[in-house]
């Protein structure tokens, strides 16, 4: 059987379910930037009924990394004897003045890596340099960096450190629900974050605030099924946490991975670029791992941070208050070629996705 034909039939059936359930206007927030991109990639919006709004949330860890952290990474990269290693996602994000890519073109040592282990290997290969790994990510990524820090410690690698910029998702979702400006009928919950943290952290959203949540995978069929499950709950006046992505998400997530995070990192407040400080949504090295905190290992001076450039509406966009096309800079001063704010620069940002897929 031709797999694509069968998938297409299943997609059509799910679209029919969605259309049947959306009998009044509904707004769903996809928290995760990877969902934003997947929806655009498969052109799924063009198959949704007119009454259903799919709104992007602040689920792009690159977009919500404060300018200050980018500035710090750039300043570190310019220090002699320091190499800044980073995921490719970060390299073009603008700080207050320029990006890591621009700094690299001016001679700073910046290395794109696929895995934090590559950065550790780099540190082992270059014992006369200090390697700073830019620690961005949500809970899908944080355990990989924490595990790398443990390996560094076990192997006695002293020249490896991490610039902490981790963010934690569920409290951020709670802040969104509590914000008087946002109006979300249901959450498309990030499947891979949940594969690590488990389903339980979303229970208060449904039980306390009455917002249905469906843990959703990233294939087109997963997203369609997740949306169908959500709109059917909303239509029936229900508010539960459901799991569409059972093949990858056991109820308890990955407790071993979360224990590793807990061993190395402790909660702190975090600044979400364009949104503000959300208490308890950050992570930083515990005192016993302070020697791997790049902020103290490579002290640098940074310009007074400007969080978002003037006119930039990334904050409102990330809260789902504005469509990217409603930002005054969108498509004019702010395009992928000359991005003003992080939502346009990041490959996953809501504005970049909107520009690329035209709201498709």
């Amino acid at each position: 059987m031709a797999p694509l034909l069968d998938e297409r039939a299943r997609a059509d059936a799910l679209v029919a379910r969605i259309q049947a359930a959306v009998t009044r206007p509904m707004a769903l927030m996809e928290v995760c930037g990877t969902h934003t991109m997947a929806i655009g990639h498969h052109g799924l919006r063009s198959r949704m009924p007119a009454g259903l709004r799919l709104v992007s949330g602040p689920g792009c860890p690159v977009c919500v990394t404060p300018a200050e952290d980018v500035d710090r990474a750039i300043a570190m990269a310019k220090e002699p004897g320091v190499i800044v290693a980073t995921f490719g996602d970060m390299i073009k994000v603008p700080g207050t003045r320029g990006s890591l890519a621009k700094a690299r073109s001016e001679g700073a040592q910046v290395q794109v890596v696929y895995s934090p282990l590559d950065a550790l290997r780099l540190a082992q290969d270059k014992p006369d340099h200090t390697v700073v790994f830019v620690g961005i990510g949500f809970e899908t990524t944080t355990p990989t960096i924490a595990a790398t820090m443990l390996r560094a410690r076990a192997a006695g690698v002293e020249n490896f450190c991490v610039l902490p910029a981790f963010k934690v998702v569920p409290q951020a979702m709670e802040a969104l629900v509590l914000s008087p400006q946002t109006d979300i009928d249901g959450f498309i919950c990030p499947g891979h974050v949940t594969a690590l943290i488990g389903v339980a952290p979303y229970l208060p959203l449904a039980e306390k605030y009455g917002v249905p949540c469906v843990v959703t995978g990233f294939e087109a069929l997963d997203i369609l099924e997740g949306v169908a499950m959500l709109v059917e709950q909303i239509a029936a006046g229900e508010a539960r946490v459901e799991n569409q992505y059972k093949r990858a998400v056991p109820y308890e997530g990955n407790p071993k991975a979360m224990a590793i995070v807990d061993q190395v990192l402790q909660p702190c407040d975090a600044m979400w670029r364009g949104v503000g400080v959300i208490p308890g949504t950050g992570l930083e090295p515990r005192p016993e791992f302070a020697s791997m905190d790049a902020r103290t290992r490579v002290p640098v001076e940074i310009p007074p941070p400007a969080d978002l450039p003037k006119g930039c509406s990334c904050g409102a966009v990330m809260l789902g208050l504005l469509l990217p096309s409603e930002c005054p800079l969108f498509g004019k001063a702010c395009t992928p070629a000359s991005a003003v704010g992080p939502c346009m620069v990041s490959s996953e940002g809501a504005c970049a996705a909107y520009y690329k897929y035209g709201g498709a």
């Binding site: 034909l5 297409r8 299943r10 590559d118 990524t141 990858a248």
Partner: protein, 96 residues
């Protein structure tokens, strides 16, 4: 925020594993899945295996095990005349 891709564990040595992703392979660190077994399917992210995939559940969601047939063997990936005919399904060209 999380691109993670399914693959099958072919070899294990210490806490590293060789994982196959449909024709390409990569070593993944298994520190986050210490109980992992040979032949399991895992999700790969940033050089680590982050979660085990439930094979039975996966079968129900066809997409995971969608087989793009080996190109050389098939000699073609099935072109699709675009005049209103449904996509013939790139990848297999074979009835089963």
């Amino acid at each position: 925020m999380c691109l993670a891709v399914p693959g099958k564990v072919l070899e294990l040595e210490g806490s590293m594993g060789r994982v196959d992703f449909g024709g390409i392979q990569r070593e993944l660190c298994m520190d986050l899945l210490p109980e992992i077994e040979l032949g399991s399917w895992v999700l790969a992210h940033a050089g680590f295996a982050i979660q085990i995939l439930d094979e039975e559940e996966a079968q129900k969601t066809l997409a995971l095990f969608r087989e793009w047939a080996d190109f050389e063997a098939e000699n073609s990936l099935g072109p699709t005349p675009l005049d209103g005919v449904e996509p013939s399904g790139g990848g297999d060209g074979s009835p089963a």
